[in-house]
Structures are given as structure tokens and as C-alpha cells.
């Protein structure tokens, strides 16, 4: 009981004295703050990308491509094959019509606003069913393209990321001129990075004959993918890969997410080690500055435990202050920041927002806590072992 009272008393004394050690304390706070800031900023790229890619994926939509294709871009399906898929069991029907969209996925050069250089922007030819097979996709501005015309509707993210895609503008790709007639919203998913037009028009413009690259179908239920997969795999006329949309998008984002994490985590660990050295330094100097004070307290009868705990608490306090500062800064500066990058498998741009999520902030605070405890522990031992007589003589 007595020890606890002592701990509280010494800790409060310590924290009230902090302003006197403002220099080294600030450095410790800034050091930990930087760790949490960088951790949250780098990893928020991975979470943002995952959110964008995975929010497009639904379990009751299936994507069918030629087997062995790593993405829609390098798949290929004939018109006959798309009809086989349309009539397969497991596909949800609206009356007599299956809810499907056979699509063509190409890449076209459009300038990025940020760099003013050409970027590979995904350009998708879709059928009328495109809006029914996807959830949350709707025209938010202008109107839908008219089938058979060189008209484009643009994803909201693509519109803000690339040049010349506002409604009413015309844009030239090679020999063909296109009019932007509308903007579509897809709940922040990867579809918003794309340009859409009528698949027949795109086939003609890219001289793809009557070929497609993927078919999306709405399933009767998530379980009916098994029936669909079995039927199509047994059919000698087609050699397909059947994935749920969620599976498809998670394979598409896997590489890039892994890459960011592969850099982000070791980076954070290295920086945290650096910050531990910084915290140790400032706590050692705090202990040495307070040498006389500690010795006086000991002479007055305060126990070594109280001195030790108070030093660790001071360090943890500084680290958590740094962590909050860094996390707050990361949230204010990076959350919602829009970027685009080249995603390997589809060889095209994906536009996404940084997402500083609560989980990331909690992980950041945990790192700060570890830095604080480790950074305070060794100086605390020294403080507790300070020879009282020697320290007092320095007075």
C-alpha cells in the first residue's frame, strides 16, 4: 500500500517536472511520433488498396476467363463460349434472360493529372447486364452510353485522377474519337478506375473481331458457383477458370499489397529500433539530470521501486504522446489521399485512397507503447540503483 502511494507521488512529481527537460523530452516524442506516422502512412496504402480491390468483389458474382489467365487482360473467350456460359446452370435469371455481361478489357493511354505523363488506363467494353451483375454501380452524373455509339462513361476515381475525362469532353484514342457522356460511381471500388463503353463498339475500335475476355454472371446463390464450375469444366467446348469476383480481385491485389507490406513492416521495425535508441538516450539524460532529486527522494525514505516505476511511466507517457501525435498527423495528412499506381497483373492503373484505419492506429500505438517501455526500462534500473551518498555529494 505504501509502495503504491510512493509510486503515485514520485510519478506525479516526475510528470510535473517534465517542462524542465523540454528539450530531450521533445526529441523523444518526435522520434516516436515519426515511427507511428510512417507506419500508419505506409501501411495505409496497403489497406486502402485492399479496400478498393476487395470492395469490388462479391461472392454471388462469378468471373469466367480462359483457364491459366492471370487477369482479364490476357484472357480470351469466343462469342460462342460466352453463350455457353450464359445458358449454364447456376446463373441467375431475370425471367428468361440470364444476368450476365461479356466484357472486353483493354488498356489505353491517358495523361495523369499529377505527372502529366501517359498512364495505362483500363478501358472496358460491357454489355447491358454490366450494372446488374455488379452491386453499387450507378450513373452519378450525365447519362449512360448509347449502345453502338462511341460514347464512354467514366469511373469517378478515373475522372479525378486523369486528364480530359470530364462529362461533355471528347477524347481521341488512335483513329477513334470518343465522347464522355457520364460518370459512374461504384462505392469506391476498383471499377471506378475504369472507362466503360459498349463492348461491340470497343471490339470494332480495337479490331478484336467477335471476341471477349471475361464473362461476369450473377449467381443464384454463392453456393451455385460449384454447379457452374463443374458444368463449364466438363464442357469440351470451353476451358475456363471460374472464380467468384471476390477471389478474382484478391488475386489481382495480392502482389502489390504484399509488396507494400514487405517494405512497410521491416521499415517500421528498423525505425522503431532507432526510436528506442532515441528514447533510451533521453531517459538516461532525464535520470542523470534528476540525479540529485532522486537521491534526495531516496534519502527521504522513498523506495527504489517507486523511483523505477516512475521512470518507466515517464518514458511511456512521452512515447504515447508521440504515438498520438504521429497517428493524428497520419490521419489528417494521409487518410483519403488519392493516388494511382500500375497494378502488375492487369497492367493498368488502379486509383485508390490511403486508408488510415483504427486497426492501423491501434497497431501504431502498440509500437509506441513497446518503445516507451523498452526505452524507460534500462534507465529506470540505473535510477533505482543510484548510490545515494555519491549523488548527494554532487550537490
Amino acid at each position: 500500500m505504501n509502495t503504491i502511494k510512493q509510486i503515485i507521488a514520485v510519478t506525479l512529481l516526475n510528470l510535473r517536472n517534465l517542462p524542465q527537460r523540454i528539450g530531450s523530452s521533445t526529441v523523444a516524442v518526435v522520434g516516436v511520433g515519426a515511427v507511428v506516422l510512417v507506419f500508419a502512412a505506409v501501411l495505409s496504402m496497403a489497406t486502402g488498396l485492399e479496400r478498393t480491390m476487395l470492395s469490388a468483389g462479391s461472392d454471388d458474382t462469378a468471373v469466367i476467363m480462359r483457364s491459366g489467365s492471370t487477369s482479364e487482360l490476357n484472357s480470351g473467350l469466343s462469342n460462342d463460349q460466352t453463350l455457353i456460359i450464359a445458358n449454364a446452370p447456376g446463373v441467375l435469371r431475370d425471367g428468361d434472360n440470364p444476368i450476365i455481361s461479356a466484357e472486353l478489357y483493354v488498356v489505353t493511354d491517358v495523361k495523369k493529372r499529377s505527372s502529366q505523363t501517359d498512364a495505362n488506363v483500363p478501358f472496358r467494353g460491357v454489355q447491358a447486364g454490366a450494372f446488374a451483375v455488379r452491386k453499387n454501380v450507378s450513373i452519378s452524373d450525365g447519362r449512360m452510353f448509347e449502345p453502338g455509339k462511341n460514347e464512354i462513361v467514366v469511373g469517378r476515381a478515373a475522372q479525378s485522377e486523369f486528364v480530359g475525362l470530364d462529362v461533355g469532353e471528347t477524347i481521341r484514342f488512335g483513329q477513334t474519337e470518343w465522347t464522355i457522356v457520364g460518370t459512374f460511381d461504384a462505392g469506391g471500388s476498383v471499377s471506378e478506375s475504369e472507362l466503360w463503353t459498349d463492348v461491340r463498339v470497343l471490339q470494332a475500335a480495337y479490331r478484336r473481331g467477335n471476341s471477349f475476355q471475361s464473362v461476369r454472371v450473377r449467381l443464384e446463390s454463392p453456393e451455385s458457383i460449384e454447379v457452374l464450375r463443374q458444368t463449364l469444366e466438363d464442357d469440351p467446348r470451353i476451358d475456363p477458370d471460374v472464380l467468384t469476383e471476390r477471389e478474382y480481385y484478391s488475386t489481382q491485389s495480392e502482389g502489390l499489397v504484399k509488396f507494400i507490406k514487405l517494405i512497410g513492416y521491416p521499415l517500421t521495425i528498423l525505425m522503431a529500433i532507432g526510436a528506442i535508441f532515441g528514447a533510451l538516450n533521453s531517459m538516461y539524460s532525464s535520470v542523470s539530470v534528476r540525479g540529485k532529486e532522486i537521491a534526495t527522494l531516496r534519502a527521504l525514505g522513498f523506495g527504489p521501486t517507486a523511483i523505477m516505476v516512475s521512470t518507466v511511466v515517464e518514458s511511456v507517457f512521452l512515447a504515447l504522446a508521440g504515438g498520438i501525435l504521429g497517428g493524428l498527423l497520419a490521419f489528417l495528412v494521409f487518410n483519403g489521399f488519392q493516388v494511382s499506381t500500375l497494378n502488375g497483373p492487369s497492367f493498368s492503373q488502379v486509383v485508390f485512397d490511403f486508408a488510415v484505419t483504427p486497426e492501423l492506429l491501434i497497431q501504431g500505438m502498440q509500437a509506441a507503447l513497446i518503445i516507451g517501455v523498452v526505452g524507460g526500462f534500462f534507465p529506470a534500473i540505473r535510477a533505482a540503483r543510484l548510490p545515494v551518498a555519491l549523488a548527494l555529494r554532487e550537490l
Binding site: V30, T70, N120, Y206, G274, F277
Partner: protein, 385 residues
């Protein structure tokens, strides 16, 4: 220099503090080394580019193929010395994660276009004679343990063969290296003739052309002349120098690389701030010692020099160690990740920048305490003690 002993003693005056400072400087420069090497990979080989090489791609997109018939028209454009072509194959070896570049091309044309690639002449001849022959770069050969004489299957993700199969088999006839330490050899080359004959679709096309301009010819004029020839055709072209092509491709990764660099700049700055603060603190604590030095007859300038050298010495010790360990790790990463992220390289410029930063940070951290030490009045300082 004659005060080195004194500076050295001062550095180790407080062993724990100096060790901790050294370690945080070490970590800062280790990070610097790793990140600048990764950043280099994102530049996409811009520095390795040959100014006399031009790349011709489809104007609408790099993924659209160009007609094979363009070859002779490009070759006969004034100012063009020689032409080669290649295409993107996009297959993998054994399992999908083993993806690396494979390019169908013409053996002799390709190797004379890229003189920096080195391979024994007899291997080149053997490859040219074998329709199903292929050559791999040293990085690929080492990573997948491929040897000359092996027959390896590559699974195509795009190119189905006419018989419906997607397994392409190749006889490895050679292994090439590069004499440029910055260049990548993480790719495989095989014969376009085999590709053309066996693929199920897109016959009569190639992915892109590479050409070398005549010595003295203006690359810009040659580019314009080529693009003009194909203007208003179904396949308009876009010709650019290899460097401009690499640069614009690297920009596709876009702001990510830039953001990472900015964040790292912030980190680096903070770590230096942390160590700088400790150094000035340690000088402040020694005011009376410095006064004693002056009493013993050290000039103002020598005191300034002693204090400054101490702070620069700490930065250099920690920094060079960090840079050295970073360099070793980069070598390892370049080997382990060569196929995945080619071009990881710690450039001499980065090393020079790092050393300049060490000295600069040492001066910044030490200059204020050093000036204070220089201007110290002996009486005041001793009285304070």
C-alpha cells in the same frame, strides 16, 4: 589531426550515450541505403538507357501489337542504323509466382542492338540455329537453377498454341550477362519464328520495335519521321528514346514512389534530429572541461575544431557502418528479388549523398555548441562549475 586522441577520448566520454547515438545514426543510414536502392529500381533503368536507341510502340497503348510489315519501313527511314523487335510473352516457370519477362525476338538482331549484353559467340550461334532455343539472363539462371542444355517448360498466360496447349518448351542454349552493374538480366529471350509459327492468334505482329540511329543523326528527327510515316494508319506509332520511354513507364508507378521518398525524408530527418540533440547536449554538459582546455592555452579555433570534429566523427562512424551494412543487404536483396523487382541498386551518387549528409548533419548538430564553446569566457565557465 593532432587532436585526434583528444577527440576520440571525448567521443567515448559517456559510453552508453555515444553507443546509443551511434546506433540511431546507424539505423538512419541503413534505411537510407535500402530505400534509395529500392527507389532506384522504380526509376526503371532510366540511367542504363542508350541515347542512340529508340523504342517504337503503338500510340494508343503499349499493349497493342504493331504489324510485322512495319519492320522494313522503319529500317529504310533515313537515319536508322539497325532495327530489332520483341514482344511480351508473359509466361511463368513451374508455378505462377515465378513470373519474369520472356521476349520472342531475333537472336542476332537483338544482341547487336544491346551490346551491353554479353554471351559467348558459340552460344549465340547455337541459339540462332535452334528454332526452339532460348537464352536466359544470369539472374534467372541462378534463381531457378537453369543450365545450358536444359529443356524447360514455360506456361503461357496469354499465348495459347494453335493446338490449344499453353505449355511452351525451350532448349536453353546460352546464358547472358551484362557488363553494366545497374542493368538487369532477369529475363529470357527466344526465337520469334517459333513464336509466330506456334501461336494461335495475332500472327504477323510484334510487340514493339527497337532501333539504333546512325551516328550523328538526330534522334528527335528520326522519331518524328517514323511517326509521320504511320500517321493516320490503323496502327499509329509513338517513338521515343529509350530513356524517355523508361521514364514515362516509371512514372506509371506514380506518386507512390514519390510518397515513399517523402516519408523517408521525414524519418531520416527525425533520426538525425534525435542524434543531433544528444550531441549538443553532451557538449553543453562539458562547458567547464572546455574552459579548462582554454586555460591550458588551446586557441578559440582549436576548441571549435575539437567540438565540431567530435560531432562529425560520430555521424561518420554510425553512418558509414549503416551504409556498409545496407550495401551488403542490397546485394542480397538484388539477388533474392532480381526477378520480382529488377534493378535494385545502390548507386555511387546515393553513397556520395549519404556521406555529404553525414558531414552536413555533423556540422549542424555540432556548430551551435561549438560556437558557444569557442566564445566561452574562461572565468564565467569555471565559475559556473
Amino acid at each position: 589531426m593532432k587532436y585526434f586522441g583528444l577527440v576520440w577520448k571525448n567521443v567515448w566520454r559517456k559510453k552508453i550515450r555515444t553507443s546509443l547515438t551511434l546506433l540511431s545514426v546507424f539505423v538512419a543510414f541503413l534505411l537510407f541505403a535500402l530505400l534509395s536502392a529500392i527507389g532506384y529500381a522504380f526509376k526503371g533503368g532510366e540511367d542504363v538507357a542508350d541515347a542512340e536507341r529508340l523504342i517504337v510502340i503503338d500510340k494508343v497503348s503499349l499493349i497493342n501489337p504493331l504489324p510485322q510489315a512495319y519492320r522494313n519501313r522503319i529500317a529504310s527511314t533515313p537515319g536508322v542504323h539497325s532495327v530489332a523487335h520483341a514482344s511480351w510473352f508473359g509466361g511463368f516457370y513451374q508455378e505462377p509466382r515465378n513470373q519474369f519477362g520472356q521476349f520472342p525476338t531475333n537472336p542476332y538482331e537483338y544482341f547487336s542492338m544491346y551490346p551491353e549484353l554479353k554471351m559467348p559467340q558459340e552460344q549465340l550461334d547455337a541459339w540462332a540455329k535452334n528454332r526452339q532455343g532460348a537464352v536466359v539472363g544470369r539472374e534467372i539462371a541462378d534463381q531457378f537453377n537453369i543450365k545450358v542444355g536444359d529443356r524447360i517448360p514455360i506456361q503461357a498466360t496469354i499465348w495459347t498454341k494453335s493446338d490449344g496447349s499453353r505449355t511452351w518448351e525451350f532448349d536453353i542454349e546460352g546464358i547472358f550477362e551484362t557488363d553494366d552493374p545497374r542493368g538487369s538480366t532477369a529475363f529470357m529471350l527466344f526465337q520469334h519464328d517459333y513464336f509466330e509459327e506456334a501461336r494461335a492468334f495475332a500472327k504477323g505482329t510484334v510487340g514493339w520495335y527497337v532501333l539504333r540511329v546512325e551516328p550523328g543523326a538526330d534522334p528527335v528527327e528520326v522519331s518524328n519521321a517514323i511517326d509521320l510515316q504511320f500517321a493516320n494508319s490503323p496502327n499509329e506509332t509513338e517513338t521515343s528514346t529509350e530513356a524517355a520511354f523508361a521514364q514515362s513507364f516509371a512514372k506509371q508507378f506514380g506518386n507512390i514512389a514519390l510518397i515513399v521518398t517523402l516519408i523517408l525524408g521525414a524519418v531520416f530527418f527525425t533520426l538525425l534530429l534525435v542524434s543531433g540533440n544528444t550531441m549538443s547536449q553532451s557538449v553543453r554538459e562539458r562547458i567547464s572541461e572546455l574552459a579548462v582546455l582554454k586555460t591550458l592555452g588551446f586557441s578559440d579555433r582549436s576548441v571549435l575544431g575539437v567540438v565540431l570534429s567530435e560531432s562529425i566523427l560520430i555521424m561518420l562512424m554510425g553512418g558509414l557502418l549503416g551504409l556498409g551494412v545496407g550495401w551488403v543487404l542490397v546485394q542480397g536483396a538484388a539477388q533474392a528479388m532480381g526477378a520480382f523487382l529488377p534493378g535494385i541498386y545502390l548507386s555511387p551518387q546515393s553513397i556520395l549523398i549519404a556521406i555529404a549528409v553525414m558531414i552536413g548533419a555533423g556540422i549542424v548538430a555540432g556548430v551551435f555548441p561549438a560556437l558557444k564553446a569557442m566564445r566561452l569566457s574562461i572565468i564565467d565557465a569555471l565559475a559556473r562549475a
